[in-house]
C-alpha cells in the first residue's frame, strides 16, 4: 500500500468532530432573503453538516437550505443554536457565529447605497 503512515492512525479523525454554539440575532429584520443567502452560502462552504434550531426548539433545520432558514422566521432577538458535525465543524461554527455577530455584514452593504 502506498501510505503506511495513514493506516496507523486508529483514533477518531481529529478533523471529524461535532460542535455546537448559541448566538442571539441582533439584525433588525432578522433572517430575510439577503442575510439568509449570506448565511447558507457560508454554511455550504464547509463540508460538515450544519443544522440550526431556533429559540429552544428541538427541531433541527438544515443550515445549508435557504428555504429552511427563511421559513424558520428568525427575527431580531431570536436565539439560534447552531451545530455542526464532520470535517471542519469547529471552524464552521466559529465562522457562522461571527457572521451573525457581524450582523451578516449588512452594514457594509447598506453603507454603499444608503
Amino acid at each position: 500500500m502506498t501510505s503506511g503512515l495513514r493506516s496507523e492512525k486508529q483514533e477518531p479523525d481529529p478533523l471529524h468532530v461535532n460542535c455546537q454554539t448559541e448566538v442571539e440575532v441582533k439584525h433588525g429584520v432578522g433572517l430575510h432573503a439577503r442575510p439568509s443567502v449570506t448565511f447558507t452560502r457560508l454554511a455550504k462552504s464547509f463540508p460538515c453538516s450544519i443544522e440550526i434550531a431556533v429559540n429552544g426548539s428541538d427541531v433541527w433545520l438544515n443550515g445549508k437550505s435557504i428555504i429552511k432558514i427563511m421559513g424558520a422566521r428568525i427575527r431580531k432577538g431570536s436565539i439560534l443554536r447552531i451545530r455542526a458535525d464532520g470535517i471542519l465543524a469547529e471552524e464552521a461554527i466559529r465562522a457562522l457565529k461571527e457572521l451573525i455577530e457581524r450582523n451578516f455584514d449588512e452594514e457594509k452593504k447598506h453603507g454603499r447605497t444608503a
Binding site: R34, S36, M70, G71, T113
Partner: protein, 523 residues
Amino acid sequence: MAEPLRLKAKSASPGIASGPAFLAERPDAAPASPAVGGYSALEKAIDISIGELEHLADGADAESRDIIDFQIEVLRDPTIAEATGARMEADENVVFAWVATLDAYIGELEAADEEQMRARAVDILDIKNRVLGALAGTPIADFPPGSVFVGKDMEPSRFLAHDWSKGGGIALFAGSTAGHVALLARAKSVPMVVGTGRFSAADGDPVRVDGYAGAVILKAGGMLIPAPAQAPASDTQTGSSELRTADGVPILLSININDPAEIDALDPATAGVGLMRSEFSVASVADAANEERQLAIYRRVLEQAGDRPVIIRMLDIGGDKPLAGLEDLPALASGLRGIRLLLARPEIARVQARALLRAAVFGRLSVMLPMVTFPDEVDRMRELFRKEAEKLGRRAIPHRMPAIGMMVEVPAAALMLDAFGSAAFFSFGTNDLTQYLAASARDDMDADAGKAAPAVLRLLAQAVKLSAGKPVSICGDMAGDPSYVPRLLAAGLRHFSVAPARRPAIRSAIIGLNADGTRAAGE
C-alpha cells in the same frame, strides 16, 4: 370609441409611463422540444437556469444581484433535491416532482403573515418556470421595449432581462409594493402600480401608468373583471349563430381545434369551440407540468372566442397517444387512457385543472373529460377540481368553476347515459365509439366504419334520449361527413362540432334538411 377607464391602484414606483399594453400569460410561440428524461435532465435544467441567472447578474446593480443571488441559492438548496427525489421515489415523473416541490414552497410563502415573505413567492415561481423552460428548451419571452407590462405579477428575471431604456411601465393585478420587482422598479425609476384588480385589455391597447397617484388609465376603455361567480357555459340554448334547418329548428355548428392558432380565424357564424384537444397544444411532459403555459394557451382560445362557448377536453393521453417524456410511465404500460390515466396520475390532472380553473375567468369555458366509462370517474374528477379551486381560493388567485361534461365514446357509457348525473353535458366521439362497438382493430377502423355506422347511429339515438335534457353534441368524424347529417339529425342531435375545413359542407347540408333528417321540399 369607449371612454377611457381609470382604475385605482397602489403606487409601487413613482413616475408616469404610457405605452402599448403587453399582456403576460400568453403562449410562447416556440414549440417545446419534448425530450425529458430522469433526474439528470432536471439537474441539467437547474444548471442551465443557474447559468442564465449568473449571466443576468453580470453587470446588474446591487439590488438586482441580491435577488438573483437569492434565486440561485434556492436552486442550490439541498432540501429541494431531497424533496424532489422523494417524490420521484413515490413514482412521480421528474417534472411533476419538481413542480410539486416548488409549489409547496410557493404555497407556504403565499400563506405567510408578513408581506416581506409573501412577496418572495413570485421569486420562487420565477425559478420554477425558468427550470421548466430549460427542460422544454424555451427561455422566458421578453416583451417589446417601451410597452406597459400588464399581468397578475411579474417575475424578477423578466424585469432584469428587459430593456427599460425605451420607457414603459408595469401594472399588476395583484403584486406587492414590497416585492422584488417593485424594488427593482424603484431602483431603475420604472413607473409601476400594483393591486389594480384584474382588468380587461387587449395586447397593444394604449395604457398609462400613474405611479404618483396610484392609478392605471386604459385609454381605449375596458372593464374590471368581477370576482369569480358561477356562470357555466351552456351550449345549446343560445342563438349566437344563425344556422337553422329548412323547417326552422336552430342548430349549433362549432369547430374542433387542436391548437390555439386555429381559433384566430374563427368565423362569426361559428357557434364556438365544441372540442379543443388539449393534448395537441400541451405536447410534452414539461408543458403538462407547466400551469402558467397551459393557462396562457387556454386563455388565448377563450379570449379569441369572446362570448362564444369553448369546450376544452382534458389531456387524452395513453393508449396510442403518448405524451412526449411520459413514455416510461408505469401507468401507460398498463394501457390506461383518458380519464383513467388522469385519475391514476393526479399530479398531471391537478396542474391542468388549475390552469383550466384560472382560464375560466376569461370566457365561457366548459371542461370535457375524455374516455369516461363509469359515473364515479366524473365524480372523482369533479372532486379534484373542487379541491384545486379551494386551494386557488386560499391563495386569492382568480378562478371560476367551469361546467364539467364528458366525451361519450365508450359503449358502456353511451348505454348508461342516464346514470351520469354529475356530468353537465355530453359529446359523442364517434371514432372510438365505432372502434369499441365493432371490436375493430385500430388499423381496420376505416374499413369497418361504414358497416358499423347503423349500429353507432342506433346507439346515438338511444343515448340522446337518455341525456335527460342536458346539452348533447357530436364532435367525432361522423359529424363532419355530410352523408351522415340526415341520420344524426333524426337521432336528435342539434349541436355538431367539426374540423374548420368541414364546416361549410355541414352547414349547407343542414340548411337543406328538416330537423327530422328528411330532405326539405324543393331541394
